[in-house]
Amino acid sequence: MSDTNLQKARARKERMLGAEAIIRSLEAEDVTICWGIPGGAILPLYDAFMAIDHSIEHVLVRHEQGAGHMAQGYARATGKVGVCIATSGPGATNLVTPIADAFLDSTPLVAITGQVPTHLIGTDAFQEADITGIVMPIVKHSFLVQKAEDIPKAIHEAFHIASTGRPGPVLVDIPKDLQLTEIDFAYVDTIDLVGYSPEFPRELEGIEAAADLIAHSRKPVLYVGGGVINGEASDDLILLAEAMQVPVTTTLLAKGAFPDSHPLSVQMPGMHGSKYANWTIHRSDLLITVGARFDDRVTGKLDAFAPGAKIIHFDIDPAEVSKNRFADVSLVGELRATLPALRDAVIARKDNAARLEAQGEWLRDVQSWKRDNPFRYKKGDKLKPQYVVEAFDKALKGKDAIWVTGVGQHQMWAAQFLSIDGPRRWLTSGGLGTMGFGVPAAIGAQQGCPDAYVVNFDGDGCFQMTMQELATARCYDVPAIHAVMNNGWLGMVRQWQELFHGERYSETNLFGTIPDFVKLAEAYGVLALRAETEAEVDAVVAEAIAARRPTVIDFRIDEEEKVYPMVPSGAASHEMIDQAWDNEWVEEGV
């Protein structure tokens, strides 16, 4: 927190209501914006928002799920803690999806919920839900505040826990009567959590063992996950990769943590990753894992993943080490400390020049796979989604762009065809795969980064899960562009049905003209555009980028288009299937 806000909070020795104490505590944590919807059990807090002078903007959303994802979008784009607020019962349960999403994607989030008055807890009172119980397996921690005096402490600890170590969601449940109790505000800025020590001793003793493995490796690869972004370690990663001269693969969550345009990048591994990333991993003899967690969407069949590789694992969370794959060497700690230490150790070795020489052939192999097997698509009569992605990518080259997605085919096309060179510029729901993430996350990201160009590639299915937040976008004039890849289907599910379920399209047809997204967007008073041809795409992309106002574009894309290449579920990650090409890809002997 900033010193001035902290000093203000310390100096404040007034008597005030618990509700006001919540606001003063949020100020002390440098919160400038939060998202939510009022209701009975949280009314005192909302009253205080209006009754007292303070420095927090509250954004009124249309559904608490939207508040949660907006806070997530904000958090992931800025690196700060996102804050969302809801009332008890249904308000709180509407936050469950964003909380779970933040848990799986390690996003710092503080959710504040009203609870029924203390004396009614446990009586099945109106709008009572045991929200701390409900979210128990999907939060980093939660508090059910018992005394009004504890409010500042609970909020301070919530922010500390959410933002340190491996970040995650923390819920603070505050009964209504405590919000209405007068207390002597006393801001406690010490942390009294004996069971929580995110600052791991910087045990760098694994470094030499790691450097040894690297020196003896002939085919190393850096396998990079979202931890590099949370750990603010992109620069350290680039320095390490360049010093080592090894290929770098970035998971879906890590896109941008290492520049896509970097010659050493082999982009995304896994189910819809690049052939060259999966082949590189498959053939590798050493996986230098950095803030990644061997997720099944990356590994495919775990036994067959990188079968000949030893594992070095860098992570802030000791529980990730050897969880899915045994680590030969592990380094638990902040990546900003461990990555430079590894770089120094590698460079210092006498045999480093010999290693570079010996690994040169590997790097040349990897680069030739990359050159020969780019992501590509076939043009046809109908508009291809990949063209839309490329059009935006081109139009915003050199500008500060933040890319957001829903979940489905469109998400994968965006991951494959966008070239992103910096961290916190790609926001997608990876671990939970939450349809409906896109619209609100884009709004929150835009509010956190007002000068950036925010583009949400959404699916027609996903869009309809949270599109009510267009009202929020309009009311607060949030100029993010929502590019709806309208294929008329729950396309990703349809793709599986086509490939693995005998083309039985059970309950996946959305009938692409219902609703009419242009009319819908017009009803919300936002800029509404449509494109069906490449020429129209070029025109609407230019118009939307120039407009700087909330925008929805209905892209009518080819409903038959699929995401390739693909690792079928349960297959080994190098066994990718692909569509037929006139100039067939040469399958390297992997």
Partner: protein
Amino acid sequence: MATPGHHTLSVLVENRPGVLSRVSGLFSRRGFNIDSLAVGPTERADRSVITIRVDCTRHSVEQVVKQLDKLIDVIRVLEVHPDMAIERELLLIKVQADATHRLEIMRMAEVFNARVVDAGADSLLLECVEHPDRLAALEELLAPYTIVEAVRTGRVAMTRASVANDEGRAPLRILG
């Protein structure tokens, strides 16, 4: 590595609301079956110890310890090695005992350091604090007399006083 075995974990926690469900919930969420669980206060009012016995592989127990360690209210997790620890459990057992069998049962109880804590016209209520294996043996011996009711507390464990402070306690926190 893949063969299951019994592991006793001693989990020192802060006495905060919900801490027991956080700990036990973690086991079920990660797919571990708890054999026995005992909770109680410690020498400090603000701390409790939860003693948990699980049947799982070494790899799994390491995983669950690391996950437990991540709970904010968990101060430390120790795996208690049986040969370096004293393990005890309390058994209350009610056995049918008419006049003809009464003395026999009482003699048997003596051998197991069990005490008669109540007696009725045709049953005896015994209490026994012992190693859980001994309790099982006692139950087996009493079975022929018809056990009316039996209840056990779940084991608690402590490193032997004779073992140097840290030996019997293997904090499984793995710091790389």
